[in-house]
């Protein structure tokens, strides 16, 4: 029969399924070239994995999402993850949609797959979204802890970077408190431009400190983060130039 165009295997398969011959129906469906028709029937026949595979084969992301959505609702989370994690395209789609909608799902997924780097990245993203610093600190701590027992050099590097970020934030907080004066809002004269340092990069922090001629504090940041002398000189040059500009 196959090889002849124009025959709807979907209809034949549906008939077979209605007769209760599931295996035959599945077999027949292999000849149906239109995935759009194949997949819904497979789903209704509860041939979930085959349906997912066929959807992926078709390349139609909408169809893949459709199957994934269906599976997600139907299966317990753990087995849902097991189904998708052998299929990279499916994993990618779940990840990308969960990134916009369902962060917790993503966290579970990374945990189950032991993808520590991704997991810690996710926590870092959340830290960035926190409105208050103390909450951000908590998230950062978690992100760092997530990597703590990994030997992978990339993870170790990342951990170092995260810890540095925490340290930097604490320093910035400290400087803000010292330099912005009392919480009443009365800033000392000459510091009218003294906006908050929190959120700036290490370089920018030094730059601003130098511009406001807090040389000692700047030097402290330098030694704390091991900024090379050359870089520090550049920063000082730029800061001095811009300070002259403004006053």
């Amino acid at each position: 029969l196959h090889g002849r165009p124009g025959i709807s295997f979907e209809e034949i398969a549906r008939a077979a399924y209605d007769e209760g011959r599931v295996r035959l129906a599945t077999e027949l469906l292999n000849y149906e070239p239109r995935a759009g028709k194949q997949v819904p029937l497979l789903l209704s026949m509860k041939e979930d994995n085959i349906a997912l595979d066929k959807a992926i084969e078709s390349g139609d992301t909408d169809l893949i999402f459709h199957v994934l959505h269906h599976l997600h609702k139907k299966l317990p989370l753990a087995s849902f993850f097991r189904v998708i994690n052998t299929r990279p395209v499916a994993t990618a789609l779940v990840e990308s949609s969960a990134l916009d909608q369902d962060r917790n799902l993503l966290k579970d997924l990374y945990y189950q797959d032991d993808r520590r780097l991704d997991g810690s990245n996710l926590l870092l993203t959340e830290a960035l979204a926190q409105p208050s610093l103390s909450a951000a600190h908590d998230k950062l701590k978690l992100a760092s802890k997530y990597l703590s027992d990994s030997r992978d050099p990339t993870a170790q590097f990342q951990r170092q970077a995260l810890d540095d970020a925490t340290k930097l934030l604490r320093l910035q907080e400290q400087f803000d408190k010292d330099l912005l004066g009392s919480p009443g809002g009365v800033t000392s004269p000459g510091l009218t431009r003294g906006t908050s340092l929190v959120g700036l990069s290490t370089h920018d922090t030094i730059f601003h400190l130098l511009r406001q001629s807090h040389t000692k504090r700047a030097a402290k940041v330098q030694s704390e983060f091991k900024i090379p002398d050359k870089t520090f000189t550049w920063l000082r040059l730029r800061a001095l130039v811009s300070a002259r500009h403004w006053t």
Partner: protein
């Protein structure tokens, strides 16, 4: 003999326009239009706003602004249906309007390009599916110029390489399929790259699907539609991740630099009015009176611009000068010579043309001046120096000092990332020690949030350690997992020291020395002899062997493609014999001349590459020999610059107090 050429820009525009207007007609009375921002540009290219007004559009709103008012009963959403965030935004706004408004509204949604089951699900869960009438606006290709079609998928790079979401590939396949159904199958699909392979597979798959759809019951178009086309020569697909460096380099053509400095989107760019003068010129829509930025339409229809756009920026000054002289002399001499009334009448009739030319000349002179300012900056020259050194094969470690200095001088992050990625992609990764040092410096200089940026770049295979640890490297077998530039530089002659920018003889003019690998690969398919002559050392034995230009495919440069990342494929599509015969009878003896070669870039194309391809296209046209008068049409998922390529990885959040 002028058959309707396939990939006809005006035809595609016309169809998209008609489709949209028909949909609008279907909704009676006046309506408010809610647009997804990313669609505004393409829409602007297809339909004038005045036309939309004629069809009852009262006010346009951006979906992202979430500010539709209830001034009209009908509210029409025009949005892409592939992204769940966008769909949820639509659902939210419908709910909001329904809650806040006094009158009952009628909602319509036009999904672009298709209605998806996901969209239905989301709307249903929000409980608004029932109240919206849903239709599809099948917009795929948006013609940017006569020979450039783009899907205008802004997120294509992020989707494909960062999120590994194959939607752009699927949409590309759909778009190409529509053209195939009209003009026949691509007789040959050749290409390079994993996503490219996927696209080719999908095209073949969809063909069987269409065939299956033509069941005896539904009498669709006949089988003639699915025989090899007699007007298309081949489809060449290039995946962006085959050749990232080309996109990372600073483009040096005029159009490329406009894109680098001002950003072009959908043939429009915004320039500060202090540069170009605020006076609204005739022929330009919109009456932006006091706005700071002025929108400028950039397209090939402007005669002056079409001569300028693709040349190396170094000679733009000369060309502008020449154009100014010509304009001056033609107006002056005519004025003097115009003695009789008939001569004078002729002159007056030409005046508007001169005025338009003058306006365009003025515009481009100011643009060029601004770009010169940019290219003369110290930072620009330093980073160009690094780029050129890396591309010509200097040991990249010698460049590290310059890069560090640039970081210390607080150059914009994207410029730095472009340089770092360039080094990594051309050298199959960076030395572990160097990479870590640079990562640390970037984080210290630009903020800890860029830990995420760096890890995204790693995922995109743009920035990775040499040898590749388990992370981020394609699990494919060793050959073809990365593009190796060292052997390619020689075998495809990617670097050209004696580049001639004034009167270019090779595509390397577009980057002042570097010939884009992507275009070289295309050349190795359609312009083998020229290429063989350019690559002198190995050409002698080969040039004779490949005297037959019909030897298509990548056979000749097989050894070259071995060093290029991703799958290589070459498929022929044949139809049923009877139908083939029928078609060839219908069309007479067309043989090989005047065919269209379609070049498709998955994941974006840069304007400099377009320029280089046009250069090849012109060569094909002029010589009767190799090109047989073929025409090249460039299709792509979107137009990119290095900035936007890297930009999709950059994390925008930062810590707040």
């Amino acid at each position: 003999m002028a058959p309707i050429a396939p990939f006809n820009a005006s035809e595609i525009t016309e169809k998209a326009r008609r489709d949209l207007l028909r949909l609008l007609e279907g909704i009676r009375g006046k309506k408010n239009l809610v647009l997804e921002k990313a669609l505004a540009g393409p829409l602007n290219l297809l339909v004038k706003f005045s036309t939309l007004q004629e069809y009852g559009v009262d006010k346009p709103f951006f979906l992202e602004n979430d500010n539709v008012d209830s001034s009209q009963r009908n509210i029409v959403f025009l949005v892409r249906g592939e992204k769940s965030t966008v769909i949820s935004a639509v659902a939210d706004q419908i709910k909001r309007v329904r809650r806040d408004s006094q009158i009952e509204h009628e909602f319509s949604i036009f999904w672009v390009p298709r209605r998806t089951t996901v969209s239905d699900q989301i709307l249903e869960e929000a409980g608004v599916l029932g109240e919206a009438s849903v239709s599809e606006w099948p917009l795929y290709f948006v013609p940017l110029a006569d020979d450039v079609m783009s899907l205008e998928l802004e997120d294509a790079v992020e989707d494909l390489y960062l999120r590994k979401d194959p939607t752009p590939v699927y949409l590309s396949a759909k778009a190409l399929m529509l053209q195939q159904q009209k003009y026949g199958l691509f007789p040959r699909i050749i290409g390079k790259g994993d996503h490219g392979k996927r696209l080719a597979d999908l095209l073949i798959r969809m063909r069987t699907e269409v065939a299956a759809g033509e069941a005896p019951s539904n009498t669709g178009p006949s089988f003639l539609g699915l025989t090899p086309s007699s007007m298309i020569d081949s489809l060449i697909i290039i995946d962006r991740d085959v050749d990232f460096p080309t996109a990372l380099l600073t483009q040096l053509t005029y159009e490329g630099l406009i894109d680098e400095v001002f950003n072009i989107s959908a043939n429009q760019t915004e320039v500060d009015s202090s540069i170009v003068g605020a006076a609204p010129q005739p022929g330009q829509t919109g009456s932006a009176s006091t706005s700071m930025k002025r929108k400028i339409v950039i397209d090939q229809k402007d005669e002056l611009y079409s001569t300028l756009s693709d040349v190396n920026f170094a000679i733009v000054g000369n060309m502008l000068n020449k154009a100014a002289r010509r304009l001056q002399s033609s107006t002056e001499r005519n004025q003097l010579a115009a003695k009789t009334t008939s001569e004078l009448r002729d002159f007056v009739a030409k005046l508007p043309g001169y005025q338009a030319e003058q306006a365009s000349l003025k515009l481009h002179t100011s643009l060029a001046e601004e770009i010169i300012k940019f290219t003369h900056s110290d930072v620009f020259t330093r980073s160009l120096e690094v780029q050129q050194n890396i591309m010509s094969g200097t040991d990249p470690t010698t460049q590290h000092e310059t890069i560090t200095e640039l970081i210390n001088r607080d150059v914009p992050l994207s410029a730095i990332l472009r340089l770092l990625c360039l080094e990594s992609t051309t050298n199959a990764g960076m030395r572990h020690k160097d990479l870590e040092a640079f990562k640390r410096t970037v984080i210290q200089a630009y903020g800890p949030q860029h830990i995420l940026t760096l890890s995204s770049l790693e995922k995109m295979n743009l920035l990775q350690p040499r040898g590749g640890s388990g992370l981020g490297v394609t699990p494919a077998a060793k050959p073809g997992s990365v593009t190796n530039y060292t052997p390619l530089r020689k075998s495809l002659r990617l670097w050209d020291d004696e580049v001639n920018e004034v009167d270019p003889n090779d595509i390397s003019y577009a980057f002042s020395g570097y010939a884009p690998l992507s275009v070289r690969l295309i050349q190795s398919i359609i312009q083998k002899q020229t290429l063989a002559n350019i690559i002198k050392p190995p050409s002698d034995p080969r040039a004779a062997a490949q005297a037959n230009p019909l030897a298509q495919g990548l056979r000749v440069f097989d050894d070259a493609t071995k060093y290029v990342r991703g799958a290589t494929f070459d498929q022929r599509q044949t139809g049923e014999e009877k139908a083939v015969k029928a078609r060839s009878m219908l069309n007479g003896n067309h043989n090989d001349a005047m065919k269209t070669i379609v070049v498709f870039f998955v994941g974006g194309v840069t304007r400099a590459e377009i320029a280089a391809l046009r250069f090849i296209g012109n060569k094909l046209k002029e010589v009767g020999g190799e090109g047989r008068g073929s025409r090249i049409v460039i299709c792509c998922t979107n137009v990119i610059t290095g900035g936007s390529l890297v930009g999709s990885a950059v994390e925008k959040g930062r810590f707040r107090a």
